[in-house]
């Protein structure tokens, strides 16, 4: 669009008018195609989704297992491996390696293996992203790469379910509120005001801690799964009012349009008008708000974990926010005991999960920005 003149593709073929909604999508794609940042964002999102699908569909092969039981070969301590788990040979920084192909652990924990390309006879293979410490007390060993790969599905599931359900509820409530007006509108908007004046993170905190005390496990789920469910519900409860407010503002504009009047004149019922005429036409701001929020949910989850909640969808492969938070906690404890300069700081444990979170959030943001530019004709120019 830098040329200044924009030629919109002619989607009409002679004799056959395309569905106007399909034409709209085609137009959106045309403008999105010219936006490099948005395309980059789209590419990253597709890659993340592919990784998540790969992680859920492919079981961990125990031959090439990257979750290892760490042990210090010099002392033999820490070998708490369940049967079938490999033993990773590690040695602390400063000492000589006990054998060939052993990993050096500069940070002191058996699992703090720095990024390395050297291979290991026990099939640990190269660790380009290093090892991860999820719990300094445990001796389990994680590859950062495998942790990020296996954590991608939960990151996506949590953020998409929170934002998706929240937006759906907000959309319906906001549409009803804006269309009905009067007492219903007033009541719903006061309710929205109430929810908006509680800090999201605080609400989720009290919701999760109360639910954790009352029902440690719901509906026969395991403790980990049920706390994830509670967490998602808590996020949805505090999240929908934002969408409701956005949608209501949009509906107030849309309901004055001629086509709504025409639908009313032709005898359409209220639910039909809301669902077929109002909602589809006020949905775009919601899309943009959703894409902004999707990246925020893992960050908030990381905040909760950082503050000391034990929220792991799977004990060995938590999602990205938790991995980042645990790594930061680990690093801080490490800094407290280690003289700066005397030992190597495990920067890889924070950099790579943080980068994953950052890329996820920023790609969705890029895409949403591109979508807004593509959808709003005033911003195109």
């Amino acid at each position: 669009m830098s040329s200044g003149t924009v030629s919109v593709p002619v989607t009409e073929k002679a004799g056959r008018r395309p569905n106007p909604r399909i034409a709209q999508w085609k137009r959106t794609w045309f403008f999105l195609r010219g936006n490099t940042l948005a395309l980059i964002g789209l590419g990253i999102i597709i890659a993340i989704v592919a990784a998540a699908i790969y992680a859920t569909t492919t079981p961990i092969s125990w031959d090439a297992m990257t979750e290892y039981c760490g042990t210090n070969q010099q002392t033999g301590e820490g070998n708490t491996c369940p049967p079938g788990y490999a033993i990773v040979c590690t040695y602390p920084a400063g000492s000589s390696p006990p054998g060939p192909n052993c990993y050096q652990t500069p940070a002191g924990n058996p699992s703090d293996v720095a990024p390395t390309w050297s291979s290991h006879p026990l099939s640990a293979g190269p660790l380009p992203l290093g090892g991860l410490t999820l719990n300094p007390d445990e001796q389990y060993f994680f590859s950062t790469y495998e942790g990020l790969l296996r954590g991608s599905d939960w990151s996506l599931i949590i953020s998409v379910s929170v934002v998706g359900v929240g937006a759906l509820v907000g959309l319906l409530v906001g549409a009803v509120s804006g269309f009905m007006g009067g007492a219903i509108d007033e009541t719903i908007m006061r309710l929205v005001d109430i929810f908006l004046s509680i800090p999201q993170i605080l609400f989720v905190i009290i919701f999760v801690s109360v639910m954790d005390t009352v029902h440690p496990s719901i509906a026969g789920l395991s403790t980990d799964s049920s706390i994830m469910l509670v967490l998602i519900i808590g996020f949805i409860v505090i999240w929908w009012p934002f969408y409701a407010r956005v949608v209501r503002g949009q509906v107030l504009v849309v309901r004055e349009q001629k086509y709504v009047e025409a639908a009313q004149a032709s005898g359409a019922g209220r639910s039909r008008i809301i669902l077929r005429h109002i909602v589809p036409n006020s949905i775009y701001p919601v899309f943009i708000q959703m894409s902004l929020d999707v990246g925020t949910v893992p960050l908030l989850l990381g905040v909760l974990v950082y503050l000391g909640f034990k929220l792991f969808p799977s004990p060995y492969f938590p999602e990205w926010g938790s991995i980042t938070a645990l790594s930061v906690v680990n690093l801080q404890g490490f800094l407290a005991t280690c003289q700066v300069g005397a030992c190597i700081i495990p920067w890889w444990q924070i950099l790579f999960p943080g980068l994953a979170l950052f890329l996820y959030a920023i790609s969705v943001n890029f895409l949403s920005d591109g979508l807004r530019d593509a959808l709003d004709p005033r911003l195109r120019r």
């Binding site: 006061r190 800090p199 990246g295 925020t296």
Partner: protein
């Protein structure tokens, strides 16, 4: 409508919001088991009378005469305690009692065995309101400083990037805005802290953390990392608690560290406090700057295309004056509205930042009170903090609305 009529009208509107928030917290509180509710309000039973919340007393406990004359007797204390919270009444009465207690600041007691009590033994068994009142001033000061930082960065930068649309300045602002959205707050804060520590050397050894030339009575000025309270030596008292709490109102009349240092005639110490607060304030401000920057830029772009700006330009008014006086003033409305809308998000950042930097504010207390180890979760403090944060947000929203009405006469006249 006159201004004061608008203010009163707007203030009345907060009543349903406050009551609504309390209803939500009431729903969560009453989901808790009864003994947890009692502990949150009256505190943990002391080792002398561990039976205090038991429904039935064994012989020899409390008022119950010893065996073999009696078997068991009903716990009268429990009855009084339940009656005080309305827990023996139907749910609407419980709700009423809860609302009354919340509005009169009877927010319960700090749990003797909670993580907060383990970390700060001086807080054991104190009323939640007292504890929060002690820790509030520091948080307020931090909030004020970071609000100043937010406004000072986002408004000029937003205007600049709107004027230089799609130029390098705009792109840089966009990258800043994106990183604010995508960066977890704890990560940014930890990086700032660790970068500073690494930059300076060992945290505990460097004089910056332990020594202030402006503190007359001792070398150790700050007990924690920067930003925290001046250590007791500075004001001449001892103890874990900050000096003004330990020594009463005489040493610290207001509770705001900066103002207190000024009252004590130590302007350099108050400057020192402010400097040490700058890094955490920046960490808190970053997320809000990201949001605000984007809205300031967009609203500025919209205003710049309006007719009156073009007229002003045509009149030959210098471009700088047009941007600051004509367009800037009109885009300020949006800025203030967005600031009000994101205030809840802004306040929600405090627990993390205060926890990372270990600042003695309400957020730190909340961060400790939700941790299940080494002690237990402290529900009294959690709910008290939530109510307090909500009050702050509601009041901030009123201030925003009043400012909005002041800036835009159409709001109060229409």
């Amino acid at each position: 409508m006159r201004m004061w009529v608008f203010v009163i009208r707007r203030s009345i509107l907060i009543v349903p919001v406050i009551v609504g928030v309390m209803t939500i917290t009431f729903a969560l509180v009453s989901a808790l088991p009864v003994d947890q509710q009692l502990i949150a309000h009256f505190g943990q039973p002391s080792p002398h009378d561990p039976w205090i919340y038991n429904p039935v007393l064994q012989p020899g406990q409390g008022t119950c005469p010893p065996a073999p004359n009696t078997k068991t007797c009903p716990n009268l204390f429990l009855k009084t305690a339940l009656a005080k919270l309305g827990l023996n009444q139907p749910l609407p009465v419980q709700w009423g009692v809860y609302i009354y207690n919340s509005l009169t600041f009877q927010w319960g007691t700090v749990n003797n065995h909670s993580t907060v009590s383990e970390t700060y033994p001086d807080l054991k068994g104190l009323p939640v309101t007292t504890v929060l009142a002690w820790y509030l001033p520091y948080t307020l000061e931090l909030a004020a400083l970071s609000l100043v930082i937010i406004l000072l960065i986002s408004i000029p930068l937003g205007n600049l990037s709107a004027v230089n649309r799609n130029r390098p300045v705009d792109q840089a602002a966009r990258v800043l805005s994106f990183s604010g959205f995508a960066m977890p707050s704890f990560l940014l804060a930890s990086f700032l802290l660790m970068g500073f520590v690494i930059l300076i050397g060992s945290a505990s050894a460097h004089p910056y953390f332990t020594y202030s030339p402006w503190c007359p009575s001792g070398e150790i000025t700050f007990t924690e990392f920067f930003g925290s309270w001046p250590s007791p030596q500075c004001f001449g008292t001892t103890g874990v608690l900050p000096s003004w709490i330990a020594a009463g109102v005489h040493t610290a009349p207001t509770g705001f560290p900066t103002i207190d240092a000024l009252i004590h005639g130590q302007p350099w110490l108050s400057l020192d406090t402010l400097i040490r607060m700058a890094l955490p304030a920046l960490a808190i401000a970053f997320g809000s700057i990201a949001v605000l920057l984007r809205f300031v830029r967009n609203s500025m772009l919209e205003v710049m295309n309006l007719d009156f700006v073009r007229t002003a330009r045509a009149e030959g008014i210098p471009s700088k004056t047009v941007v600051t006086r004509h367009a800037g003033r009109n885009s300020l409305n949006v800025t203030i509205t967005v600031l009000g809308l994101t205030f809840a998000f802004f306040i929600g950042g405090f627990p993390v930042i205060e926890y990372v930097f270990h600042l003695n504010g309400i957020g730190l207390i909340l961060a400790y009170s939700i941790q299940p180890s080494p002690g237990s979760v402290d529900f009294g403090l959690i709910f008290g903090t939530t109510l307090l944060f909500t009050f702050i947000i509601v009041i901030a929203n009123i201030i925003v609305d009043i400012l909005y009405a002041y800036l835009d006469p159409r709001v109060r006249l229409g």
